[in-house]
Symmetry: C2
Subunit: 333 residues, 2 copies
């Protein structure tokens, strides 16, 4: 910054404020300073200090996808912490494929990153690849989706309780034939949400003949066909709990095309953080996860593990509660 | 794969099919093979071959954000090519900050990646950081958002023409007082879309007194306040062209809160690839960009540059057309 200030004949404070995009600095001055920063090959702290500390000053975030609002918000939460720590964030997408995940994890296991935040794929059932990281003392924190049979840090939401509340909410609003749309029979979040859902059905003595848990696997087209068959077949459900955002979007699109009226003929609630829920037709009820907070908390935990080598990271299992927001799609009219 | 097949006493073909998630292989067999792959530290081609070729077998994708559907789809297009080439994809988010972008680009300029796909921030006006990459013969392809004053490969859409068509469409549907919501006065896509928009206004002799281009800058809350002021102030527009998805979502949320009726009082059309456009209330008109194709084409170009050192990448400037999809939000009732 000193070099920049000297070059431009302004104070270091002005440069500092411009680089932080302060409102005290005019747009023209900011532009001049940013251009000089680019010309002089200015690099933020991470790079310079990594040369000093022999740390990569980089963390990896391994995610199944980014199209879901949950993950966009979680990334923002992670980034808010990483920026404060002057760390770079590398995002790897596994695209819900276990083999991609193994390959990415192995790549991270080579000094490229100082720690890893991971939300596993819907195919992941085995934890050997993660155990290898832990064996080499690379800090790992699971967020949202974790593997059950490994002793590692995690930040999740109250999936069982939320699944239970969602089913109860639909039953209270007159549903008798409920379906839970899952994306995987091996994914922790889906199973816990489904278990809570089933507990409510048993408690209320409903749905005893129906096949309440519907696993929606495959390509988008295959999932579309499965849900269409469910909604237009014999004995269609009158209430749906969708485990992830895109399944509810598919339900809406199919109802729109086949003239099934929500909420009159079908009530819908979904685990989602989408901002557009209130402006859908009809407004969509959600179990809103604290996505930003989950990302932020997971990153804070990870940095504890990175900074204090003796910190007992693996014992941390933080659960942040979700909130049921009832809108038109699930309410008795 | 041979090792895996031997270990499990199955054919190499079975392992190969299981790893490609073929429908010919039972779920149980797939699970067994995936678990063995994890246990045996199986790594996909990229890692193994990078040791042989001294290439990183990695490309970087530098993006301003992932919350916008456009970028999710573009990533899928990029990944479809990278997978075929057995390359890893690293995703870096600049969060619309020019300084982040400089820092990320400089980090990539150290043998970590074999090539770079970039969509620049709304603050980026200077190309020095990119010129350094080109000087070191690192292949670079701009996609969607490019910098004008640099001779480099790009894949974009027909922004000027689409802005013109969008304005004409609103005028044809009875609008007399149009506003164009921009996110930056320095961003190529916004300026071209705005220029097309202004050309239509001049051609039709409307809007001569209004300030048709509204730049929406700052935090989400600041953008919200700006748009609310526009919609509830004196002389509110009767037609809006939004340059990016989140601006249209903000318009919808504000109209919902302030009981402004779309399309009766305000007509809206947006540059967006969002799947939920038909299920919003009311269904939202879009200028739909070929996002997946833009990502795929940009990646294909980049690999030409990576594989053929003498390929004249910089001369490539591919334009893929967008499509105007009129829905209720912009139609005369």
């Amino acid at each position: 910054m000193k070099e920049l200030a000297k070059e431009l004949n302004v104070s270091v404070a002005t440069v500092s404020k411009a680089l932080r995009d302060s409102h005290e600095i005019s747009e023209q001055t900011k532009k001049t300073i940013l251009e000089a920063a680019s010309r002089l090959n200015y690099t933020m702290n991470p790079y310079a200090s990594s040369l000093r500390n022999k740390k990569s000053k980089t963390i990896a975030v391994i995610l199944p996808e980014v199209a879901d609002n949950f993950f966009s918000l979680a990334i923002n939460g992670i980034q808010s912490v990483a920026e404060r720590k002057a760390y770079h964030v590398l995002i790897y997408l596994s695209h819900e494929k276990f083999l991609n995940e193994i390959s990415i994890v192995n790549e991270c296991n080579s000094g490229r990153v100082d720690g890893i935040l991971i939300s596993v794929t819907s195919e992941t059932t085995n934890a050997e690849h993660i155990k290898k990281l832990l064996d080499e003392n690379i800090p790992v924190v699971f967020f949202d989706r974790k593997i059950e049979d490994i002793h590692a840090a995690s930040v999740t939401t109250n999936d069982y309780e939320s699944g239970y509340q969602a089913a109860l909410h639909l039953i209270d609003n007159g549903c008798h034939n409920l379906a839970f749309l899952s994306i995987s029979a091996s994914l922790s979040i889906c199973n816990k949400r489904a278990d809570g859902f089933k507990a409510a059905l048993i408690e209320k003595n409903i749905n005893e003949t129906g096949n309440a848990i519907v696993e929606c696997r495959g390509t988008n087209a295959e999932v579309y066909a499965q849900i269409k068959k469910l909604l237009t077949g014999d004995n269609p459900p009158d209430g749906i709990v969708a485990s992830v955002e895109r399944l509810a979007m598919t339900v809406y699109l199919i109802c729109n095309e086949t003239n099934v009226s929500i909420p009159d003929e079908l009530k819908v609630i979904v685990f989602s953080t989408m901002e557009t829920a209130p402006i859908l037709n009809p407004p969509l009820s959600t179990i809103t996860q604290p996505a930003f907070e989950i990302g932020k908390t997971a990153a804070e935990l990870l940095f504890k593990g990175i900074e204090k080598k003796k910190y007992n990271l693996a014992d941390e299992a933080i659960v942040l509660p979700s909130v049921l927001v009832a809108r038109t799609s699930s309410l008795m009219s």
